[in-house]
């Protein structure tokens, strides 16, 4: 039984990806281009050579963190869709620590990253606390906190903001971070990606092997039984949301410290929401988040190359991603398409479980 279930949790996402690409090819064909040329461009732009691979990994890094944030919260039965705001907060605070503090690199890099993570975790913990004590649904509160975070970080670097780059003129941004806060790069391999992989392994360990992970999963699976067993649902809900937000926040910090070199509001606006796609594709398994994020990252990284080779708009990538998400989220559609009943009936990640809970 178990074997079959784990097989389908690999097979189903793969089928979803293939179906997404096939339908994408059809769309490219309809729009009058050659899908083979387009996909060749996609491939060479994302995996052809060390530059391309580096670009893919760079794109994948915040996606791993965002995906982990969603997947981790889901273990506690929570749906964190505030990744966007948490990421912005992490990026902003890491940016401030990066330019305002003068520390040796060995301290500066982790400190800035952690500060970004902590700032974000406060935002998540607020949503967790509202959920646990007042019953405010976390989907609603995290969406609303996205706006709070977006506007707050924008104000921080605005004309009257405290963290505004004085040399930036009309540009809303922080000053450039010091080189001691910058994440180094080893050839094509960005350090940030290694941090993200380490985070994924840590989260996997935490969920599977630690008592805290057991508490989190118990609250997610059956809050009544958790209470019965003496686990505080309030405490776990706050911790789970806080840690989940922290992951997204560190993703933002990595973006500041490893890619952008400073905080500019409004960068990569979709990142927080891509986390949902990735967590779904990974079926909330922390390790599987890594390849899922790399796939989405590769699609992003290769889209420019694809556009330069053909006339295909990069938006087609969004369509392909949306279709992959659709097929992962609706496995019965895949079963129907393939006339395949035996893909297993293991529990799906039900986005609706949180509603009314």
């Amino acid at each position: 039984m178990e074997k079959r279930a784990s097989l389908s949790s690999v097979v189903l996402p793969l089928i979803a990806v293939v179906l997404g690409l096939v339908l994408g090819a059809l769309l490219i064909l309809i729009s009058g281009d050659n899908p083979i040329t387009a996909y060749r461009g996609l491939l060479s732009g994302s995996l052809g050579g060390s530059d391309a691979i580096g670009r893919t990994l760079e794109k994948a890094t915040p996606l791993v963190m965002g995906g982990l944030a969603v997947a981790f919260a889901f273990k506690a039965g929570l749906f964190n869709i505030g990744g966007q705001g948490q990421l912005l907060l992490g990026a902003a605070f890491a940016g401030w620590a990066g330019y305002a503090l003068d520390l040796p690199a060995i301290i500066h890099i982790p400190f800035a990253m952690l500060l970004g993570g902590l700032a974000a975790s406060v935002l998540g913990a607020v949503a967790g606390l509202l959920k646990a004590t007042r019953g405010t649904h976390e989907v609603i509160s995290t969406i609303m906190l996205n706006f709070v975070a977006a506007n707050f970080t924008e104000w921080l670097v605005s004309r009257d903001g405290p963290w505004k780059d004085p040399e930036g003129g009309s540009l809303a941004r922080t000053p450039e971070i010091l080189s001691s806060a910058e994440l180094p790069r080893w050839g094509p391999l960005p350090t940030g990606f290694l941090v993200a992989v380490a985070a994924a392994v840590f989260i996997w360990w935490l969920v599977k092997k630690s008592t805290l992970g057991f508490e989190i999963r118990t609250v997610g699976a059956n809050p009544n039984a958790a209470t019965y067993a003496g686990i505080s649902v309030t405490r776990i809900t706050v911790i789970a949301m806080g840690l989940s937000a922290m992951l997204a926040g560190i993703g933002g910090a990595i973006q500041t410290q490893g890619v952008n070199g400073r905080f500019e509001p409004g960068f990569n606006t979709g990142l927080g929401f891509d986390g949902i796609t990735i967590a779904l594709l990974a079926r909330t398994n922390p390790i599987a988040v890594i390849p899922s994020a790399m796939l989405i990252g590769a699609l992003d990284a290769g889209s420019t190359q694809m556009q330069s080779l053909t006339d295909v708009e990069p938006e087609i990538i969004s369509v392909i991603q949306a279709m992959i998400l659709f097929f992962v989220a609706a496995p019965s559609a895949v079963r129907w398409l393939l006339r395949q009943r035996d893909l297993g009936d293991e529990p799906e990640m039900q986005l609706a479980t949180g509603w009314g809970g």
């Binding site: 057991f214 699976a221 059956n222 039984a225 209470t227 019965y228 067993a229 003496g230």
Partner: protein
């Protein structure tokens, strides 16, 4: 649990207890049995039985749920379907109702071979099923629920009046009193069940399958339901009645078909059967109904509840000044009609629900609104609703065994779990508490009710406790497991624990309790000695009557 019968009492063997290879017709009663049939069904007549299932087999991956099972039901007959949890009763009726398709075998309805491709087919033929968990839409009215899916319409508009009139008509015809305009959500469980039955009758059901219909009912509601079933049968409806309660089987059925391990053990007429003989057919060995227990050797008071006040979910005072004491080495049975504050009383004592007035102490330590603190005071708790509170269904047996001790040595050190230790414990407890499972890694939700409960009992009672709170410990559990769980509770008592047993089953209370407290409207109205009181007297107190004795 059924009536207390002496195991030494000679019981009439109805059928050999060895499983009959049921390739033959199952109506293999001896001639003397046929004479004892309570009602006669014109089997000699050429008219075929209402339902005939022959050699039904259903396999699921790794298990044969039904192995060539036969079943016959005549018009106007009530057939009891008995068997332990996991014997294949549910699978069998799901095939009859079209939820599952049989892998082998045939189903004949009124003499015609049928295949039901789903419940819709079955309903169209006049086969209806009342599930244990009701299939009602709570915010809709009784009439709306009953006509749902086959609404009277005119020009595309729902005819509420017509629906209500039709519902009234059927409900009067069968004596199932309901108010068509009541909102289902507001109705007690017993009435909701009536709505389910009316739904079936509205669709013209001639065969009614009831899956453990009395599990959720109070004794009074059960009596009403049994009367309704008899009326329906008199009207020609054939009824398949699944239950664990042998008393009900004896009271209402005409014949009984027993399943064991997915096979038909046999069918017998109900007349002449006894609880002991039925239990033996189900379990395959004789079952002891009276729990053998020595006199209680009581020690100091462990649990002291004084003038306790607890609110329920709706902020009503569900426990309103209850006082009781339980000493080490005794079982105090709390009898009462459900909904008189049992749940709130138990949850307050175990720290799950806040106490708003009075106090509860365990070994002179005050109970606080913190389940873990209360557990650490030596309190074990077997909750009323095991799926909701007592288990995490998706977790393995092993994880459920350490649900409350996962964070202490040897199961964890410094926040890291030790799975070898957890597995060792689980292996040991599964063995010791006779949990029937292919392994400790199996998700607990796949186990039968009896085995789920054994997992909880094992977890709660495997180490000595000061106080054991057991709420409806054998609800929905098969006969063999009931016996085992009762033995475990008595063993906990004899080991010196104070046991608070809350049960809606008077049989259970009488066979286990050393003292009986009756809970009525949130108060303990009397405490009685089971050796000198009667079921009737306890029943009177449960209903709010009786002489109020000081407690």
């Amino acid at each position: 649990m059924a009536e207390v019968s002496d195991p030494s009492e000679p019981t009439e063997p109805i059928e050999p207890t060895e499983p009959i290879e049921s390739t033959e017709s199952i109506d293999s009663d001896g001639p003397d049995m046929a004479e004892k049939t309570a009602r006669s069904f014109d089997t000699s007549d050429s008219s075929p039985p209402l339902l005939e299932a022959k050699g039904l087999t259903k396999r699921f991956p790794g298990v044969v749920a039904n192995d060539s099972v036969d079943l016959t039901l005549h018009e106007g007959e009530i057939l009891g379907l008995l068997g332990e949890n996991g014997a294949g009763k549910s699978t069998l009726v799901k095939m009859l109702f079209g939820i599952h398709q049989p892998d082998e075998g045939e189903i004949y309805f009124r003499g015609e071979r049928v295949t039901n491709d789903g419940p819709g087919d079955a309903i169209a033929r006049g086969i209806a099923m009342v599930h244990q968990h009701f299939q009602l839409v709570p915010p809709l009215t009784v009439a709306e629920n009953i006509v749902l899916g086959a609404e009277p319409t005119s020009g595309g508009f729902f005819q509420r009046r017509a629906a209500e009139a039709r519902v009234k008509e059927i409900s009067e015809q069968y004596g199932l009193t309901v108010n068509p305009r009541d909102i289902v959500d507001d109705l007690p469980v017993g009435i909701q069940q009536r709505v389910e039955i009316l739904k079936a009758l509205y669709r013209g059901a001639r065969l009614l399958i009831l899956d453990e219909p009395t599990a959720v009912l109070t004794p009074q509601e059960t009596d009403e339901l049994l009367a309704i079933l008899r009326d329906l049968a008199a009207d020609g409806v054939g009824i398949i009645f699944i239950t664990h309660k042998l008393r009900e089987v004896l009271e209402v059925t005409d014949r009984v078909t027993v399943l064991r391990g997915g096979k038909g053990v046999g069918t017998s007429t109900t007349k002449g059967a006894t609880t002991a003989s039925l239990a033996e057919m189900m379990v395959g060995r004789s079952v002891v109904f009276r729990v053998e227990k020595p006199e209680a050797e009581t020690g100091d008071v462990v649990l002291r509840v004084q003038d306790l006040k607890v609110r329920d979910q709706r902020r009503q005072m569900a426990v309103d000044g209850a006082s009781l004491e339980v000493a080490a080495g005794e079982i105090l049975g709390v009898a009462g009609v459900e909904g008189n504050g049992q749940r709130e009383l138990v949850e307050a004592i175990t720290g799950i629900r806040p106490i708003v007035g009075g106090s509860a102490t365990v070994l002179d330590q005050r109970v606080v609104h913190k389940p873990r603190t209360v557990r650490d005071m030596g309190v074990a708790y077997i909750p009323e609703d095991r799926e909701r509170d007592g288990l995490v269904g998706t977790y393995s047996i092993a994880d459920n065994m350490v649900l409350a001790s996962y964070n202490r040595p040897p199961f964890a050190t410094r926040g890291v779990r030790d799975f070898d230790q957890v597995d060792d414990l689980a292996e040991r407890l599964v063995e010791e508490f006779d949990v029937r499972t292919p392994g400790i890694d199996v998700a607990v939700q796949t186990l039968s009710g009896g085995n789920k409960q054994k997992v909880i009992v094992a977890r709660e009672l495997s180490v000595p406790k000061a106080l054991v709170v057991a709420s409806q410990p054998t609800r929905g559990v098969d006969v063999g497991s009931i016996e085992f769980i009762h033995e475990q509770l008595v063993a906990a008592r004899d080991a010196g624990a104070a046991v608070l047993l809350v049960s809606a089953e008077l049989d259970e209370i009488f066979s286990l309790a050393d003292r009986i407290a009756v809970l009525y409207e949130g108060r303990i109205v009397t405490t009685l000695d089971p050796n000198t009181t009667t079921r009737e007297e306890v029943g009177l107190f449960m209903a709010g009557g009786g002489e109020r004795a000081p407690h």
